[in-house]
């Protein structure tokens, strides 16, 4: 039982972090960033030296953890900010569909860029192998990493909450998320806030990349895609623009997925995702604004 709780929490953590990254950008720009998954993939490939050989040439991945973690986080933030400056800045006034397709096209470019540099063969890497050791807690035996994932997510969430509530920058960001044009009029510097949001979102993507990389040991060009989709759904059923809602929904999706895997009979288990998506539709029907509706996103007349 306890084991199931941990399984659900660790999967939910990944989804929650992803959802947070998408919700942050949506908050300030009304952009659903489909390139997020590819930013995740990019971060993890940043650990390798570009080569199309089957054997991965580990480069930054050999750094000790206290250098490795900041390096990857910086990569994510850097790429994300670069995307903002080069691409998304030109789309501030475009409608959401255009922005969405632009972000998709950008993701496409990043993905095929990685494909050219690294080939499609999944690469393997042993990142911080000491984290793969099992530990025993209250009778449940789980990989140390699972525990660290959960703890790290909690720390990130608390840190982010404090950042948004206690600092001036956080205040500006929250104001912008709530009502962007009003915030601008009141002296919030739009570019700075948006860049901040992109940097944070990129760093979150990098955090997912690290956890995912350590957990699976495989680097794959497509690896960000499935997390991104779940995160995207979590963002919407959490209430677009609501950071708390995104996190909550992320954990709920993770829990739903794990619980269904445990409860369903073997013949129905392959259909697990159909049930999860069915539940998503149900939630949307009853709460079209999401679990926690953000104030700024209601359709106004």
């Amino acid at each position: 039982m306890l084991q199931i709780l941990f399984d659900a929490l660790s999967l939910g953590s990944l989804y929650a972090l992803g959802a947070l990254g998408i919700a942050l950008i949506f908050g300030v720009m009304r952009l659903v960033n489909f390139a997020h998954g590819d930013v995740i993939a990019f971060c993890v490939f940043a650990l390798l030296w570009p080569s199309t050989d089957a054997m991965a040439i580990v480069f930054a991945g050999q750094l000790p953890w206290y250098l490795l973690v900041p390096f990857v986080l910086l990569c994510g933030a850097g790429l994300s900010v670069l995307c903002e400056i080069v691409v998304f800045r030109r789309f501030r006034k475009a409608n959401p569909a255009t922005m969405m397709i632009a972000s998709f096209a950008l993701g496409f470019v990043i993905r095929y860029f990685l494909l050219m540099l690294f080939s499609s063969r999944p690469k393997s890497i042993s990142l911080l192998p000491e984290l793969s050791q099992p530990v025993e807690i209250l009778g449940a035996r789980l990989p140390l990493l699972q525990l660290i994932t959960i703890v790290a997510t909690m720390v990130i969430l608390i840190g982010l909450t404090l950042f948004l509530r206690q600092t001036r920058f956080g205040l500006e960001m929250r104001a912008a998320a709530e009502n962007f044009s009003m915030a601008r009029m009141l002296g919030v510097r739009a570019n700075r806030v948006i860049m901040g949001a992109f940097a944070l979102s990129g760093a979150l993507a990098a955090a997912i990349a690290l956890i995912f990389g350590i957990q699976t040991g495989t680097l794959d060009i497509q690896m960000g895609a499935s997390i991104m989709l779940m995160a995207f759904i979590a963002t919407v059923i959490g209430g677009l623009g609501s950071l708390g809602g995104a996190v909550l929904a992320g954990f709920l999706l993770g829990a739903a997925s794990v619980i269904m895997q445990v409860m369903l009979p073997i013949d129905a288990r392959p259909f697990r995702d159909a049930f999860v998506y069915g539940a998503v539709i149900l939630v949307l029907l009853f709460r079209p604004q999401g679990l926690i509706a953000a104030r700024g996103t209601k359709e106004r007349v």
Binding site: V87, P96, L229, I233, P270, A274, G278, V301
Partner: protein, 363 residues
């Protein structure tokens, strides 16, 4: 040939609903040039293809026509309702599998898809009959899903349609006895002549046009531009959306059936995110507010992809061969799409339709 006058603008939303019948025929006469011009464009492409006589190029153009059907199908719902749908490729999947069920040789079917009902196991139809039935089947599915989903709007509706796609994909990827799960369904008769695809694409264009000038289509566009005013003048938005959803579902199903006949195998993962994004991109790049935008988007992006592929395969320039590195094609495509969208956020066509310059008689 020029670009002028828009469908949407020529019929001011509020006025459109109030217009009486004779005026609607006037509308039909005024706008019919658009589908005719688009069809002529496709016919010209088909004729050129046949004249070149190259089999790979023929296949390329068949592919373009299938995409035209899919993108026009998307336009019928997305363009008119303004709701972005990520789920329509689900109907393409339904259509493709329905075509497979109806056209595969009964002997093979019994072996590979034993879970089908007895009457279906014994049926074997010519491909054009099965394509029509596939379209109806997809429309039925759209009706069922639409009853539930059309109550939603905005981003919630987009996500709900995506959830629908994911459900269809999960079910079709795992239902061994009926869909063959993830393994390919084979034995679908392959049609390599270009004309059926041309007819399909032209039919899709005319269906889209007819829907757009129908009472329901006009009401839906009114609701897209001024939801509050439209609701206040008695338009039942979920109902009009449902109509568009079903019509577009049928067109997507038709596209799926023809797609199945163009390659000869179907697998569920063909009909998932990749195809969804490619078709959506074509619609948005062309301009999602207009029928011409959809068709032009497909034709131009396909031409661009083809040109880049030729460059990738190598072009000889005065003795030396110039070739792009492998994989550059996709990157260049993405970059060009971003540039087009940055320069023209509402797509190449904007909200305008392709038509002849208006003669002075009309005004």
């Amino acid at each position: 040939m020029g670009v002028a006058a828009s469908l949407a603008n020529s019929t001011a939303p509020g006025a459109a609903v109030a217009e009486r019948k004779p005026a609607r025929f006037a509308l039909a006469r005024r706008t019919i040039l658009t589908p005719i011009l688009l069809s002529l464009l496709l016919l010209a492409i088909a004729l050129i293809t046949v004249m070149t006589g190259s089999r790979p190029f023929n296949q390329t153009v068949i592919d373009v026509f299938v995409r035209v059907i899919l993108v026009v199908g998307l336009y019928i719902f997305i363009g008119n309702s303004g709701v972005l749908s990520f789920g329509h490729i689900g109907f393409t999947c339904l259509g493709a599998y329905a075509a497979a069920w109806l056209t595969i040789n009964p002997m093979m079917k019994r072996g590979s898809l034993p879970g089908l009902p007895e009457w279906l196991l014994e049926t074997r139809l010519p491909y054009w009959q099965s394509a029509v039935l596939a379209a109806l089947f997809a429309a039925l599915a759209a009706l069922i899903f639409g009853r539930v989903l059309m109550r939603l709007s905005g981003i919630a509706a987009s996500i709900a349609t995506f959830a629908m796609l994911a459900m269809i994909n999960t079910i079709y990827s795992n239902w061994e006895s009926v869909t063959g799960a993830t393994s390919s369904v084979v034995g679908i008769p392959i049609v390599r002549v270009i004309w059926p695809y041309l007819i399909g694409a032209v039919a899709a264009i005319f269906i889209a046009w007819a829907h757009a000038i129908s009472r329901s289509g006009l009401a839906l566009r009114a609701a897209r531009d001024e939801p509050t005013a439209a609701a206040a003048s008695g338009i039942d938005i979920p109902r009009e959306r449902l109509v568009a959803f079903v019509v577009s579902g049928a067109v997507m199903g038709l596209g799926g059936a023809l797609m199945a006949h163009s390659i000869g195998v179907v697998t569920p993962d063909t009909f998932y995110l990749g195809l969804t994004f490619i078709t959506l991109s074509m619609l948005v790049v062309g301009g999602m507010g207009s029928l011409s935008g959809g068709v032009v988007g497909v034709v131009l992006l396909s031409a661009l992809i083809q040109a880049l592929r030729w460059l990738e395969a190598g072009v000889s320039l005065g003795g030396s061969t110039f070739a792009l590195p492998k994989g550059v094609q996709e990157i260049a495509l993405g970059v060009i799409m971003i540039v087009i969208l940055a320069l023209r956020p509402s797509g190449l066509m904007g909200n305008r339709e392709l038509t002849l310059p208006r003669s002075s008689r009309n005004k």
